[in-house]
Symmetry: C2
Subunit: 524 residues, 2 copies
């Protein structure tokens, strides 16, 4: 009985049949395993699949899963034998990794990082020809905030105080409510922050975390690694991936009746993989629900800058809670932010933070202790997190060029989202909700029975089957919906909106040609 | 019975009486807890100390523990009320954080990082006046190794292939045996790598990890967080912290007789906190022991560049194993390396790697999967890891200045180690082994009975009592030996050798004056 939630989650996540061991398993998941290791007699080894931590075995992470490994093999083929596949390059639409697809970093941010990496530049006259005046000023300001100006020293385990001050200022300016720098924990991207909270909250598989389905698989992976139970709640695809309180209540009660202690609600806003932006009224209901049910609200707000429609606006959950008159004492709330998303897309810098409110001092000490075991997050990522929360302002030398870069990236993303959405909706048997925000489309594939049978015959989930066929035919990498979870019997893929704009028409025509041929092949 | 190892470890680690709740607990451990949080009615909160993961509660990390929090309070006092304490500054000798104490970063490394952070610099003529030619060449080389030159993109989850190639070359040059870039996992410092291995190996508290006592508390913390048992083996203080195979065997058998499955042996070489460098013959015995007992050898080799005595030399365990004719199939061996230590001391960059050999392909896939959940380590840290394993070579434009910086730092560290060692040995009732390597001294305090009674009266471990008195009197922060573990009834402190050389005489005279007064006060 107590295994209910994880078992159910697994079924939801991977569809009626597992895609693993997959059809396409000619090579190991990790193609890099050395020949020597592969040749080992694994039974004689002190460490085998039977003797490792079963939580590790259970964890799945589709965004970098088997399909990506397959894509990497195809890419190697293309390098060693050009012309060996019917496409010239692999287009990685599996992951929100903008700069890997050609997005350029924001100049101001990189200027400041370079100056902080090599502070002697600040004393050289040539530097003024190479860097903007406000980048130089900002670098001085940041170095002044770091004890001894030492960007190579471990910092306070929550991050450099002066940078947390800047982030708190940025949050306050965004929300219109104060933020406390002591509530900020800087982290190497949002993922370690999520792990920290899961580690804190999960005691055993009897502890449950309410997660949206579809969800970003960091959550299912982290819950599996920490031995908890994922308690799924469905987003309503027919209302644009609506988050319904009645569904939350139903799933909460259901889990409780099975002996699960539900500790927390995860909300991803804007949605990943679903791209919806929550309405303010809806957010208020969610806050009320968490307060009443005594749940920790884990708010994944890493796409807060990625909004593409005029009628929607990002509101942080903290702003919503404070606007309802709720303070620290009313509900524990954690907001995750990252430098990897937004218009900046600095995934490789591994910067991010969580704003932790509504926990008692003694519990916060425990969070601090866990942070301190890893000493601190990387300082460049810390600096960048302070910059994205406090970018150049009107009047700064860099402002105009900065704003042009920012607006250029965001408006292009909006156009790409619309073009790809329209393209998916133009395909036979495909319906696709709007990407109001984030970086993804999550179209539903209404597959012919024959395609589903064909997938079954090779022990693959139908959407994994489709995604692999798409990859083999076009070089486009998307992630099967089964990696995110979906209503049983429905099939989706997640596709980023990140390829550069000049490539979108070719992508659309390749997608269209593939899909037509696929439907033709499997038409019932 | 099955709780034996953890209970025993706890007793060893914290002495006969716990230092927590400590004598000095006027303020919470985390001084940053907001007033609002402190005012919360914690009993009504959905998250309390009684309802969080007990493994988190159990975990201890003395290096950033209560004494450091106390030091930070004193530092605030000094800022707000200069002259409020009998010293002008806090000297953080608690942690191996060289740049926080004034060590300068190595110029070449920082030049390359700055150029990679802002690649447009490479196209500007002024850049040649600001950067060395080989730093520019190296930056080009690194950018060429990164797909699309995108330093802001997530990389392969093991790290950028071209950087792993450079690291493997560096390892091969160091060891005289080949290294495989596919065996390298780049990580945000060594700590996350250690966590990954503990997560893989530990299934329950019945799984044990053999750790030296004294140990670096990352190991005890990580084992606690992952719910395993620390199986202690003592280093022999009387033979310069010798690692004796008979002791390993005894503790292994003892743990096995208690139902513990011992999975792994942790060896820290050069030693932390103990500073010894293992002899080659000793390392061979250790390899043989792991092979025979089917243990994973976890080799913490982050101080591999920090050797201060002529008669000792660093040998990696992989070199030792290969020189014995043992290959991948003979024993699983993980070597941890970090950019935080050595002569570079780039703690804030959070770079490092583990070299993973001797695991089956299928187990390695699991390690890769866990790495992929966090996407990748930070790219600046990855670049820096490749640089420290492949620094400038004779003939490169930077070589001479690089070598002068490196030699200057290492020879100064050797002098500081010797000066502080002599100083400790000159104190009444203190004996201190040589720091042959690493960054620490771990002197033994033979405390008068009256001092031990005084500590007991305030519920502190005697070494914690001494360390707090030292801090209050001198501003010098050292970590009580009870945070690392020690033979019951013995007392130590760990003190880094990192204060800048011009400060050493003053530190020694403050230490001497304090110690004399302390001994006078408590003389039996």
């Amino acid at each position: 009985m107590r295994r209910f939630a994880t078992e159910r989650a697994k079924r939801l996540l991977f569809g009626s049949f597992r895609s693993s061991p997959p059809l396409f398993s000619g090579a190991p998941l990790c193609s890099s395993a050395s020949a020597a290791a592969a040749a080992m007699d694994s039974a004689a080894s002190p460490v085998t699949l039977d003797t490792i931590n079963p939580k590790v075995l259970k964890c799945e992470y589709a965004v970098r899963g088997e399909i990506v490994t397959h894509a990497q093999r195809l890419q190697q083929d293309l390098q060693s034998k050009p012309g060996s596949h019917p496409f010239e390059e692999i287009l990685y639409c599996n992951i929100g990794n903008p700069q890997s697809l050609g997005q350029q970093p924001v100049t101001f941010f990189r200027e400041v990082l370079a100056l902080c990496d090599h502070p002697p530049l600040l004393d050289k006259s040539e530097t003024h020809a190479l860097f903007s005046a406000d980048a130089i000023a900002r670098a001085w300001q940041i170095l002044d905030a770091i004890p001894g100006g030492a960007t190579g020293a471990y910092s306070h385990s929550q991050g450099i105080k002066g940078l947390r001050d800047a982030i708190a200022d940025g949050i306050a300016a965004r929300d219109g409510f104060p933020a406390n720098p002591d509530d900020i924990f800087l982290t190497d991207g949002a993922s370690p922050a999520v792990h920290m909270m899961m580690q804190l909250l999960i005691r055993s598989e009897k502890d449950g975390i309410l997660c949206p389905i579809p969800q970003y698989p960091l959550y299912s992976a982290s819950i599996a690694l920490h031995g908890g139970s994922l308690v799924p709640y469905y987003l309503n695809e027919s209302t644009g991936w609506g988050l319904e309180i009645s569904e939350l209540k139903k799933q909460l009660e259901d889990a409780r009746s099975k002996g699960i202690t539900v500790r927390s609600l995860v909300v991803i806003n804007p949605g990943n993989p679903t791209g919806q932006v929550l309405a303010e009224e809806n957010q208020k209901e969610i806050v009320e629900f968490c307060k009443n049910e005594k749940l920790v609200l884990l708010a994944d707000e890493v796409y807060q800058e990625n909004i593409y429609v005029d009628d929607k606006k990002f509101n942080s959950f903290k702003k919503i809670a404070r606007s309802m008159g709720y303070g620290d004492e009313d509900l524990p709330l954690v907001s995750f932010q990252s430098v990897s998303k937004g218009y900046y897309g600095e995934c490789g810098k591994r910067g991010g933070y969580m704003e932790v409110t509504g926990f008692s001092a003694e519990v916060r000490e425990q969070i601090y202790k866990v942070a301190s075991v890893n000493l601190c997050s990387n300082i460049s990522g810390q600096i960048l997190a302070s910059l994205v929360m406090n970018p150049p302002k009107v009047g700064d030398e860099s402002y105009e060029s900065f704003d042009a870069e920012k607006t250029g990236i965001l408006s292009s993303l909006a156009r790409r989202a619309k073009a790809l959405e329209d393209a998916f909706n133009g395909l036979e048997g495909v319906t696709c909700n709007k990407a109001e925000g984030a970086m993804y489309l999550f179209p539903r594939l209404h597959l012919p029975k024959k395609a589903i049978e064909a997938a079954k015959a090779v022990k693959a989930a139908p959407d994994a089957f489709y995604a692999h066929r798409l990859l083999d035919a076009t070089g486009i990498v998307v992630v099967p919906g089964s990696g995110f979870g979906q209503v049983p019997g429905t099939w989706h893929v997640r596709c980023t909106i990140l390829p550069q704009e000049d490539k979108i028409p070719a992508i659309i025509s390749r997608l269209k040609a593939f899909h037509e041929a696929f439907m033709e092949e499997f038409r019932d």
